[in-house]
């Protein structure tokens, strides 16, 4: 099993720097102070009643540094902070439209307590004190009967930090984020098993310097992780050779020199064939592999039969194209980046597929080199010195007996399962923070079944999404433009600290997460865990300990530290935190645990006749299921479409704009959704943008617009290595709209 904690990973493999660490840091800080002191035409703008306040974005987890403008007291616009290394002065469309979150008329306004059956969405508005008293009473009762461990929390994003602190103080070890088992988990485990570290978030990919970039299902440009997209455009502009593997002709595919329209579910066969070519033709980086590789010969023997001709019937990719693209990658190595992707939970063998991506990068020598994977660094900002948490009497229950031996983070679906079965012990309360579990977890019925076993479900969010519909207590949060939050101290190309601060007031007295968490702790009798009066005191304490000040950060938004060497070419050195201390081409720890030491391709089940594999992805103007009621962003796209191959559409007598319903293999029928008949997708699959088809009545504007892919994801394939839920294993047929009901 994986023995490296995240903390250790940070210490060993990534530099942390302090603000005063040398001349470059001081110079950088001086330069940024100067820039902050001279925003464009400050005096003129101030005279016109425009204030510019730095903060950082929360529309997705990338956390770009931003400057919000308030005109005559009304929020006007938000732009990138030029000092911020993440946004480089330009937000993505969702970030630019983020002000719509503040103005959204459908947002949650006051604390609510449920009045009728769960899911009926009937509540009474209550005071904050009543809400906390209700929650505390339930929590005490649960603690008495079952123990404090029977409370679990699901969170997405930095805003969950304080609530997590309160619940740790209460005594539970059960915290999970769907971002692991439903998203990037398999990728991170696959890379850890190979290089001893994962690629992190933001990913440590040196896209802008890549001379050859390989994207496997990654739809950069539609998936708008800001720095990645900016660097992708830079690579395209520099004439980098782009290779895109995707059943759908994505925007990225349109920029590619080689587009490989792969049959869904067969990527691992392609990866093995590529590696076969590199080894067989002696094109891999022999020096790098000899110096840093472990078990290469055993690895080479295992992939000896994975020829392009073997891969052809699986993938549908011409062997000549497989050879040609492998040679293209070799030509540009080590500046060939095979992108690790992010949402990796596809087929249940995702850790092994991600490991194959890692191994392909290893053969190309890209890990640690310019144009490959760089070593990130972060600022050294100590945490707040809180009293020690009580030690839970029971261990966390998401992964009992380490059933999934390589999971290094908690498995959200494991907590759900325990909530249903009551084993190894019952879970009686859920807290969710900014995660719509109904759409984030596969198989909605299981989620609802679990919820029915709860004595308490508390939802903290800004909009009344589907999970709020099931809550006993809903706590309305102030949106990011209305609150302070924890500091953003992230590992990235260069170290920095960023502040989120309020730009405008919350319109209905919605509260920030830190205030709710502190208030809940006080109501629970845990006031000693909040020695600070308010978050400004907390932030200043942390910043002062790191040689900075809150006052300074309030004016600049971002403080940058001295850049550290990021790649071998800049003097960084390579070290691998694996058991062998090397890149593990052959994994003894996998072998010992009973898994394939070198990835092995297995064919995935096909769907019923006349069905299409259901694929889903992102739109550049929406984040998950969180932004569909933002009026600025919904003006860009207010309903999703089902992409259908043009020829198939002709045969089915469907044209673009027609409304249809999708029926999955288990008889679940979607809301109506428009057809997009297109030459941009294979005939054996359909594609939808995730996050639409809202069923929560409170989302008046977004309700019933488009269809929800999550609703159709009733099946999932569990990754035996880490418990990830592969979700591209569902199939749908297409029916006329009238057939519904």
């Amino acid at each position: 099993m994986s023995t490296y904690s995240r903390r250790k990973f940070l210490k060993i493999s990534a530099a942390t720097v302090t603000v005063a660490s040398g001349a470059a840091g001081a110079a950088g800080a001086a330069a940024s102070a100067k820039a902050a002191a001279a925003p464009d035409k400050p005096s003129k703008r101030a005279a016109q009643g425009v204030q510019r306040i730095p903060t950082y974005c929360d529309i997705c987890f990338w956390k770009c540094g931003a400057i919000a403008s308030v005109r005559d007291g009304v929020l006007w616009k938000i732009e990138g902070n030029p000092e911020d290394p993440l946004s480089r002065g330009r937000l993505c469309p969702r970030g630019t439209g983020g002000i719509g979150a503040h103005f959204d008329p459908d947002r949650l306004k006051r604390p609510l307590i449920r009045k009728q059956e769960r899911g009926q969405e009937v509540w009474a508005e209550v005071s904050w004190d009543e809400a906390f008293a209700y929650i505390a009473t339930k929590m005490h009762a649960i603690k008495e009967t079952y123990g404090p461990e029977s409370v679990a929390m699901f969170a997405h994003g930095i805003g969950g930090n304080f609530l997590k602190h309160t619940l740790k103080a209460f005594g539970t070890p059960n915290f999970a984020a769907p971002s692991f088992a439903q998203c990037r988990g398999p990728r991170d485990v696959g890379f850890r098993l190979t290089f001893g570290e994962d690629v992190g978030s933001p990913e440590r990919t040196d896209i802008k310097n890549a001379q050859c970039l390989v994207l496997i299902g990654s739809h950069l440009g539609e998936n708008m992780h800001n720095s990645q997209v900016q660097e992708f455009a830079e690579a395209v502009g520099n004439g980098a050779s782009i290779i895109v593997v995707d059943p759908r002709f994505s925007v990225a595919a349109s920029k590619a020199r080689h587009y490989l329209p792969i049959k869904p579910g067969t990527d691992l066969a392609l990866l093995l064939a590529w590696m076969h070519v590199l080894v067989e033709e002696g094109l891999y980086d022999k020096e790098y592999v000899a110096a840093h590789g472990f078990g290469f010969d055993q690895f080479a023997a295992r992939i000896a039969s994975c020829t392009p001709e073997w891969a052809y019937p699986e993938t549908g990719i011409d062997p000549a194209v497989i050879r040609e693209t492998a040679r293209e990658m070799a030509r540009h190595r080590p500046a060939t980046l095979v992108h690790p992707g992010r949402h990796a939970t596809w087929y249940g063998d995702d850790t092994q597929r991600s490991r194959a991506v890692a191994l392909l990068n290893a053969l190309l020598g890209s890990w640690g080199h310019k144009g490959g994977f760089y070593a990130p660094s972060s600022m050294d900002v100590p945490g707040y010195p809180y009293p020690a948490y009580p030690k839970p009497a029971k261990p966390k229950l998401d992964n009992p007996g380490m059933r999934y031996p390589f999971a290094h983070e908690a498995i959200s679906t494991g907590i759900r399962e325990a909530t249903i079965t009551g084993a190894p012990y019952p879970i009686k309360a859920w807290f969710t923070y900014a995660t719509n579990l109904i759409q984030a977890l596969p198989n909605e019925d299981e989620t609802i079944k679990a919820i029915k076993n709860l004595d308490l479900l508390v939802v903290v969010d800004v909009i009344p999404n589907e999970i709020a519909g099931w809550a006993d207590v809903v706590l309305p949060e102030a949106v990011y433009l209305e609150r302070f939050d924890d500091l953003n101290v992230e590992l990235f190309r260069e170290p920095f600290v960023a502040l989120r601060q309020p730009v405008v007031d919350a319109p209905h007295g919605q509260k920030p997460n830190w205030w709710m968490a502190k208030k809940l702790a006080e109501t629970l009798g845990l006031a000693q865990y909040y020695p600070w009066k308010d978050i400004e005191e907390y932030l200043d304490h942390r910043l002062t300990a790191a040689g900075m000040s809150l006052a300074d950060l309030k004016t600049r938004g971002i403080v940058r530290g001295a850049p550290q060497p990021t790649v071998v070419e800049e003097g960084a050195s390579l070290a691998f935190e694996t058991p062998s201390g090397k890149i593990e081409f052959y994994s003894l720890q996998l072998e010992k645990a009973g898994f394939d030491p070198v990835p092995v391709y297995t064919r995935h089940a096909e769907g019923p006749p006349a069905s299409f594999r259901l694929l889903f992805g992102r739109s550049p103007v929406h984040s998950f299921s969180r932004t569909q009621s933002n009026r600025i962003l919904s003006d860009m796209m207010d309903e999703n479409e089902v992409w259908l191959n043009a020829d198939m559409a002709r045969r089915m007598d469907l044209k673009s704009g027609d409304y249809v319903c999708l029926r999955n293999q288990d008889g679940v029928v979607s809301n109506r959704v428009r057809v997009k008949a297109t030459e941009r997708i294979r005939p054996d699959c359909v594609y939808m943008v995730h996050g639409f088809g809202h069923t929560a009545r409170g989302l008046k504007h977004a309700f019933g617009k488009g269809a929800s892919d999550s609703q159709l994801v009733t099946r999932y394939a569990t990754d035996p290595l880490m418990g990830g839920t592969g979700m591209n294993v569902n199939f749908v047929t297409i029916e006329p709209e009238a057939a519904r009901g």
Binding site: E79, P93, V229, F249, V251, E679, R680
Partner: protein, 179 residues
């Protein structure tokens, strides 16, 4: 005198609509309307498909039919950069210009006047770039003086293949698409 125009690099553009969103917030464009928009032109047959993604808006034509057809003089060519603008106070909302524009760039603002892209003249006057140009995460949009041979736009047009929309409409559009 300057003659402002744009050169937009379709090779870099990813169609993310940030330009549309930024225009909306900068210019407080009301819900349901946009001054710029994205067109995706798909040609070919899967999998040998080709895409051209374009960020489109008013072309600030050298020969603008929307100006010549305006009965009140509200629709006019501005002194700075020959930008085509609408004087909302003079506009009577007759929709003549909306019909005359071959690019569909104009709409009637809920307050009753014809509205469209202004090349963010209020920003340009302050030495800033138009909001859509300044926000674009792929840096694919370029704005400047077409009559200055050393401007960013002029050098790009001199070195790259490009086209304009509806060249046969006779409007002499000033938004160029680099391919």
């Amino acid at each position: 005198m300057a003659r402002f125009g744009m050169a937009i690099d379709t090779v870099r553009c990813v169609g993310c609509m940030d330009c549309v969103v930024a225009c909306k917030t900068e210019n407080s464009v009301p819900e349901g309307f946009n001054r710029d928009w994205i067109t995706t032109e798909v040609t070919g047959t899967f999998p040998t498909t080709h895409l051209e993604i374009r960020s489109e808006r008013c072309n600030h034509c050298d020969d603008p039919p929307c100006v010549s057809c305006c009965p009140t003089g509200a629709s006019h060519v501005h002194d700075l950069g020959a930008v085509v603008l609408v004087d909302a106070d003079k506009c009577i909302g007759c929709k003549g210009c909306v019909a005359s524009c071959p690019y569909g760039a104009r709409f009637i603002h809920p307050d009753g006047y014809a509205d469209k892209c202004t090349f963010c003249i209020h920003r340009v006057e302050q030495g800033l770039l138009p909001a859509c140009v300044a926000v674009c995460p792929t840096h694919c949009m370029h704005f400047g003086d077409l009559d200055d041979p050393n401007s960013d736009v002029s050098t790009l047009l001199a070195s790259r293949r490009h086209h304009v929309l509806l060249p046969d409409a006779g409007t002499k559009p000033r938004i160029y698409y680099l391919t």
